[in-house]
Symmetry: C2
Subunit: 343 residues, 2 copies
């Protein structure tokens, strides 16, 4: 593995083979699939070599052995992030992130312990100059397209300045990845009026107004799914609760449909008849299918997936990392954050 | 209207006839329906007498004219709460709340401007001794029953002590109204571990641990709909965003089903076939049908409804007010809040 010269060389992506509830199976299959369908980037699998080789051979997949990086330790899903990254320097997460820090790779993709990946990326890769706190964005479907919410859990107790950073990076990400020329940005609050909000949200509103972002001011919880704006900014405490609540709504709906079907044979037939329709409608909401969320603001590309990530989700995460590299997002973040250092 | 002696006399409930998008129609019909079906309380309708009489006569309803309290002014849905309650002392909201303050009535029910009702109730009725901030609770359906979230918008930037108050009052409300003997209480956070949370949520966690509430510590956004606990405590900023996001999920789902149906005749037939099922399943989530939310912590009973409240919702709100009176909730809040004044 040689040093990566970001602009000319092929993008080097490291996938955490040990990350996720179905690791190494889903991680290896998804990563190799993304690679085989594109081949315009370099793929590295990091984790227990024996286990990786086993998945490859069981699925009749050929993969360059020199692109497997063996690590002995594994950070489990339930471990305390900071303690785990300290005590397991030879884990796939810590070693993988370190290779990005050392410019031996450009991106790290993992469906492992979210907190550990965030902590490792933040502490080891470091932050982009001018960024106070990294942020995770989750994209949710709406009536007219997609709305991405920053932050959904990278930090809590964000200050107004951090929300400004989320707005800047979120706006660039949405422009480059979703092809929306001037993404509209709203700040999450308890009313549309400019006087409504928390101390922090009101201070952030005043700051973001001074940028040249396409800022629409306050938006409400319902606006995320109405398609009022392309980017919604909030503290990671609220964003994380929102994201998990949204997942909960879907789980509850599935339960209610099942409960209805179990009430009698007519009900069962009705539900059976529209199962396909249901699946198609629910697909957009399925976080397992959507791939991971980007961690923006760290000095390197980092995509974090849901523990339940399918191989398709992993594949999508790898392709997203490749796109972020091709579009030089890290450089664009740095230059734009620098532009607003006076705020 | 004579002074109300809370324990022995009949409960006196004032309904804001001018409150809500379909006022006076829905407010009058719903209130009179609740009264006609029970008659064990006294009902007063407050608002423009002529308009109230018109709705009554158009619907062939008889109602004691002396129980109509005429007010000339109306606070509109879009008005700024504090300015409106100052400039319109003879509005149904301000005058109605004042009658509760003066002990001439026991409860005020309104589907009008939420902010104005909250502000009027807080400023005019005043707070129960020991309560720093009133709180609104919204009940949401889950797999095993109902979970009530406090606060969903009565205040923002709550301090830890306020969250403790929400926990105490929310717990009593859930015990008395939903008949759950020792309601389990959780505090909304970004993880179950006791170390996870915002500065305020962590401080509140330590405080609530010292009470004899059935406290389960941190819960996540998804737990609200899983039925993990009966009562969920959070700051009104997060709670309000969550509530509106939940409503948004339902709106989006309805849109998606419609979109699917419009794709072709087979799709249309499929959706048509399960419309009834859908309605039954979605009913539990329909905030318009559920009636209003109680404003706890003010020194009197106050129920606030959604602007779109149906007459059934208004009727349910009136019955809830009557129940809160019968169960002496205000006294129970006061005594329990007093018990924890040392925290």
């Amino acid at each position: 593995m040689s040093n990566s010269d970001s602009s000319n060389s092929k993008c080097k992506i490291i996938v955490d083979a040990m990350g996720g509830d179905f690791a190494p199976q889903n991680a290896v299959l998804g990563a190799v699939q993304a690679f085989n369908e594109n081949k315009d980037f370099e793929l590295f699998l990091i984790g227990k070599e024996k286990e990786i080789l086993k998945v490859l051979s069981e699925n009749n997949l050929s993969f360059a052995k020199e692109n497997i990086i063996h690590t002995e330790e594994v950070i489990e899903m339930g471990e305390t992030p900071t303690a785990a990254i300290k005590s397991k320097p030879n884990s796939s997460i810590v070693a993988g992130v370190k290779l990005v820090k050392e410019k031996k790779a450009d991106a790290f993709v993992s469906a492992g312990n979210t907190g550990a990946v965030m902590a490792a990326a933040t502490l080891i890769m470091g932050r982009i100059p001018g960024v106070g706190r990294p942020t995770m964005g989750a994209s949710m479907p709406n009536i007219s397209g997609i709305c991405t919410v920053f932050d959904v859990g990278a930090s809590v107790d964000s200050k107004a300045r951090h929300l400004l950073e989320y707005a800047i990076m979120g706006s660039i990400y949405t422009r480059e990845i979703f092809g929306i020329e001037k993404p509209s940005v709203g700040i999450l609050s308890v009313g549309e009026e400019e006087t409504k909000g928390s101390e922090v949200s009101l201070a952030a509103l005043e700051m973001i107004k001074k940028t040249n972002l396409n800022f629409k001011g306050n938006v409400e919880g319902g606006d995320i799914l109405k398609g009022t704006v392309n980017v919604v900014i909030c503290d990671g405490f609220t964003g994380n609760i929102l994201l998990k609540f949204g997942e909960g709504v879907l789980t509850l709906l599935k339960f209610k449909f099942k409960e209805y079907a179990e009430k009698g044979i007519t009900n069962k037939l009705k539900i059976g008849l529209v199962k396909g329709a249901m699946k198609e409608i629910m697909k957009d909401f399925d976080y397992e299918e959507q791939g991971g969320v980007p961690l923006l603001g760290v000095n390197g590309i980092c995509i974090i997936g849901h523990g339940r990530s399918t191989s398709k989700a992993i594949s999508n995460m790898v392709l997203r990392a490749r796109e972020m590299y091709a579009k030089s997002l890290i450089k664009k973040f740095e230059s734009s954050i620098g532009q607003y250092s006076h705020l």
